[in-house]
Symmetry: C2
Subunit: 449 residues, 2 copies
């Protein structure tokens, strides 16, 4: 397990240039632990340590660095070493790295890579971002229907060393059409003379290569798969997606939703890896949009200048009224957006959600209005406190309804409901709040301008 | 794969009471697909179909129903059938179900369950909510060090049928101390006469039974494990956590964060499974807290009543100024909270984040102020527009700093940074905004009250 004492030891090995100790270090620990420890060293130091171990092991450890560090690390490798490294890497990790490398450098490297690996790279690069094809690996284990269990185990032994997972074996014909699968567990348990065709599962759950990665990840999560086969439009197996990729996709999608809900265009990379200008831009476009909404609210308030002058107490509670609507709306939007993200919700379910939200909005509106009324009575007369309470009740109710309906509407238009961010809901609520609050006040004092 | 035509077929089988067809249906499809299709039927109908297949298969399918439906389904089973079902279920799924069942019913059932399973249930029930112990299963495959590969495969064949995963084999001594592990892949590839002790990995990454499930899930995600061993405080293996549980935990933790950020106390269950009163309460406590903050803002504004009356134009842009600060702050809080949730961030990294946020805040403040100035000039004189622009610049900058520092501060106090919800950041920003805006106005017109 990760041990904070490893790093000082490692530094000493480097200082003493102790090749044997470094080789041993790369052998005994888990590749992930080694990468974590090495992460604190400079690029050159990392390679001085890694170079002591065989290429296969170097790759295992290298794949545990995060992508940004991988990109940095490859810049200080010579071309023969780098191309050898790329040849051995898992196809999906390799393509991720290549996508993020300097493209001029990649073009220089490609001729050094073996033909088969090169065409694999070109193929995987051709799949669009966020598709199943873009996250799959081409290293799967396969069988033929007419094999016996004994043959199958023999073939598996020859395939296993360079297959990402061997826990599902896919049954293919000569044209690579996917006919079924056998789990390794089942294979181990079967009698040696059994034919694959007798024991394979024929109801294979697979995904199309052009399907969205989020759909794929949800499917895998639902069926608890370790690997999911990916087929082309003719039902031929082209790759598999493994359980660790699903985790990454689900994390990535959750991050996107969270960012959208906070009023930030989703970042492609980790926060600290995103360039400053990109970060400012992804926030700025939303802030400007929200500023325009704020100008709309100003426009509305201008019509009430006279009212403001006559009833200055109204202004005191203006932020409270607007915030109450915004907060209740943000809550509803948050609940609805997350519920939509986690489950497949038909019309019927959406209707149930709306009914609940209306009821919740009414209950919360009543409670908030009563509290606001009691507190306000300390400062302002009964009539004014009643106006305030009425406004709070209405904005909380309407905020709740908006926070529920707007994400649902976006979704039924085929857009991401998370675009209805908390700040956007709050802005819309501001306009509505001003209208309700001032008109209620004018109505209550029997006056219209 | 899921087929919408399955349901009508199934209904016909039920109508014709076609036992053979129902048994076949339960055999040929993936258990997950069968559960999805059955989910549309009544409890009685589900059991009429499932009863046609052997108990083992019934359980496989049953485990794919969501927990709420499982609880409903067991209410209409007789005691012998239900206790048999529980005996066969995977230990972790079984305990989840039992926790959610009517406790009086559980007490009546327990005597019917075999002694070994019963003590397993009591044991798993004893681990606290959200601990590694509460999500682990006790069905793992194990080996002894002095076995040969051939012995190991033999033992595996006898253990496999009732082990949740056999893809990692844990090497234990007689007291169940965990000494190492062997992956099934390695075992398959090894020569039959090799001793387990020669080939096992000794650097086992494991978790303690009382560790938090979120920590466990993150560790498994980082090392791409299919299963993670769980040990007690004496290093004895007590269970394993499998990859599918990690997905559930990470989804659950992401949902909690999202809810907090939207100003809702995290729900324990899915939105529609949460009782109305609970839902209202989990929102209400935050709304009331935010209402109190709003009263604070009102208190501040009261001191500026005179200013409000003299400069009614100030009120027009008040929501805009307050919203700008709140929005910029929400963005920062969102980015920081998510970054903290995804990575382990030391002091050094937090300092880098803060520096970036200050720079971003200044850039965004300048842009927003310029835009607000230009737009406002249409309506109000140059001096007033300058006051507005100055206030916008300051609230955006301070909002950004607050949105960054407050989550970090909570974290360093050992609390969940996500408590700094968007609405809360906006409320704090409101108070600050009022102070800045009004004081700036008073200062600019050379007046103090």
């Amino acid at each position: 397990m990760y041990d904070p004492l490893l790093l000082p030891e490692l530094r000493e090995m480097l200082l003493e240039n102790d090749a044997r100790a470094m080789r041993e270090f790369c052998e005994v620990f888990h590749a992930g632990v080694i990468a974590e420890t090495l992460d604190a060293l400079s690029n050159e130091e990392v390679w001085r340590v890694l170079s002591q171990s065989p290429l296969q092991r170097q790759v295992e450890i290298f794949e545990y660095f995060n992508l940004a560090r991988q990109v940095e690390l490859v810049t200080c490798l010579d071309k023969p070493h780098l191309s050898a490294l790329l040849e051995v890497m898992a196809p999906d990790d390799r393509v991720d790295l290549i996508k993020n490398m300097d493209q001029a450098q990649v073009e220089l490297l490609m001729p050094l890579i073996a033909q088969a690996e090169r065409s694999d790279i070109r193929k995987l690069l051709s799949y669009p971002e966020h598709s199943a094809g873009s996250i799959m690996t081409t290293e799967y284990a396969s069988l033929r229907e007419d094999m016996t269990v004994l043959d199958a185990l023999g073939q598996l032994r020859s395939q296993a060393p360079n297959r990402e997972t061997i826990y599902y074996l896919y049954v293919l014909d000569d044209a690579r059409h996917l006919h079924g699968f056998v789990s390794l567990r089942k294979l181990i348990l079967a009698r040696p003379e059994t034919l694959v065709t007798e024991m394979m599962d024929r109801d294979v759950i697979s995904v199309r290569v052009d399907e969205d990665q989020e759909v794929v990840a949800k499917k895998m999560a639902r069926y608890d798969f370790i690997a999911m086969p990916v087929v082309d439009d003719q039902g031929r197996l082209v790759g598999i997606i493994t359980h660790d990729d699903v985790l990454d996709v689900l994390q990535q999608e959750a991050t996107e939703d969270v960012h959208r809900m906070g009023g930030v265009e989703p970042l492609q990379d980790a926060y600290l890896s995103t360039p400053f200008v990109t970060l400012a831009w992804k926030r700025g476009i939303w802030l400007v949009l929200l500023l325009v909404a704020g100008l709309g609210t100003a426009e509305l308030l201008e019509r009430f200048d006279e009212t403001t002058k006559r009833f200055a107490w109204l202004v005191r509670f203006l932020p409270l009224v607007l915030a109450s609507g915004g907060n209740a709306g943000s809550q509803s939007a948050t609940l609805v957006i997350r519920a939509l993200a986690l489950g497949d919700m038909g019309r019927h379910v959406q209707y149930r959600i709306l009914r609940r939200e209306v009821a919740t909005g009414m209950a919360l509106g009543a409670v908030m209005a009563s509290l606001a009324f009691c507190f306000a009575l300390i400062d302002i007369p009964m009539l004014n406190a009643s106006i305030l309470a009425g406004a709070v009740a209405l904005v909380v109710m309407l905020g709740t309804v908006n926070g529920t309906l707007l994400p649902m509407a976006l979704r039924s238009l085929g857009m991401d409901p998370a675009i209805m961010s908390n700040p956007l809901i709050a802005s819309l609520s501001d306009m509505l709040g001003v209208m309700i609050y001032y008109n209620l006040a004018l109505f209550a004092v029997g006056n219209t301008l």
